[in-house]
Symmetry: C2
Amino acid sequence: MAKRDNISMSVIRRLPRYYRFLSELAQEGVMRISSKELADKMRFTASQVRQDFNCFGGFGQQGYGYSVEQLKNEIESILGLHEPKRAILIGAGNLGRAVAAHMAFEPKGIKLIGIFDHDEKLIGTVLRNVKISDMKLLEQFCLKHQPNLAILCVPKEAAKELSRRLYALDIRYYWNFSHYDLTTDYPDVVVENVHMSDSLMTLCYRISDDIEKKQTQTHLQHNKEQSG
Amino acid sequence: MAKRDNISMSVIRRLPRYYRFLSELAQEGVMRISSKELADKMRFTASQVRQDFNCFGGFGQQGYGYSVEQLKNEIESILGLHEPKRAILIGAGNLGRAVAAHMAFEPKGIKLIGIFDHDEKLIGTVLRNVKISDMKLLEQFCLKHQPNLAILCVPKEAAKELSRRLYALDIRYYWNFSHYDLTTDYPDVVVENVHMSDSLMTLCYRISDDIEKKQTQTHLQHNKEQSG
DNA sequence: TAGATTGTTAATCGATTAACAATC
DNA sequence: TAGATTGTTAATCGATTAACAATC
């Protein structure tokens, strides 16, 4: 691991995918892989694979390829999965509960240390070994436990005020499921958005775009038949 | 709405965001907006805003700007949100239940017509007015109701076999929450992935990258102080 | 050594930004 | 008409792909 220094987001967003494929290969007992083989598997080009890995200094060996295990470990380290991180989750509604119950936090070095909601019915119940606390206790808790990452599973309306509070508590990293745009108000925060609704709309586009294309094709076909 | 024809994914992925901001502006009663104003709000450049809209034919008026309401409607139509779509959801675990309960399907023209799981305890229970069915009835149901979109909320191990069944049932559009890569096995499907784990890893990278940078800065500072 | 495959530089492609004439 | 702002072309920037010498 040598160079590094402003790796582009395009590269970074591919890293988890590499990690996923390499973990699987390692599990299957594959020892070595060439950029070509990996690229074919992942639907990248071999050039891109090599270019990507060389952002961090070459891990490969000419004439041989890459050691699956080593490569996997390198990426794990680049992603900082070993770095311990303390997270709190805000909003224990359907989505928040699913995230809390479902996500593999530990393999990423993340410890979920607190969950907050203002719903009386939820406060005091336990989720993944964490007791859900009253939103009112947010400041008190954060001052004591210093989380560095907040997971936002609240409605858009609540997010603005909430982010103000979290920002004041010096939290700068956010995994944001709400539709509120944190970066416009706080330029120095790092936000990773999971806008499920946007993702679904993109799919909607592709469905209806295909439908339209098919209709156009049918029309062309029809015209052809008429003129032919 | 005139030209169109192979709009790049970069543009398409921005459309839901435009839609979100324009809906909000419309709700606030804003009538018109210039590319500059909208760009500032959304942290784009005015050039990009105009360039994006012109992929679909100009909606604006020189010297005036864009009508918020009209622009919103155009994007709604481009995204195909009015196009009726029938969706089934597979996997009613934590994540599946959250997606079923939480997502605004109707405003996107999507009707959730079926939910499937193999867990005896879940089968027969109702989620968002849809009764959860036994996975065994998948073929029977799909032949009858012809869904065109499947939402996959199953573990990776189950996804491979499941996608084979769905593909055989002529389903070509997928909203995929599993870590299984559908496109490698079925090149002609349209998949929109929501890889929450990948997203969280990206955030991990940015956290640990910042930590490292800070350490380097401290070291430099330290060296400077020593030498100075 | 010969063959394979990397690391890296150069070429290409695509996306974003800047500039400005057209026009409301 | 003058001012504003679009639509569109040209320039720039960044990311991907191709090519190949270095080397295991």
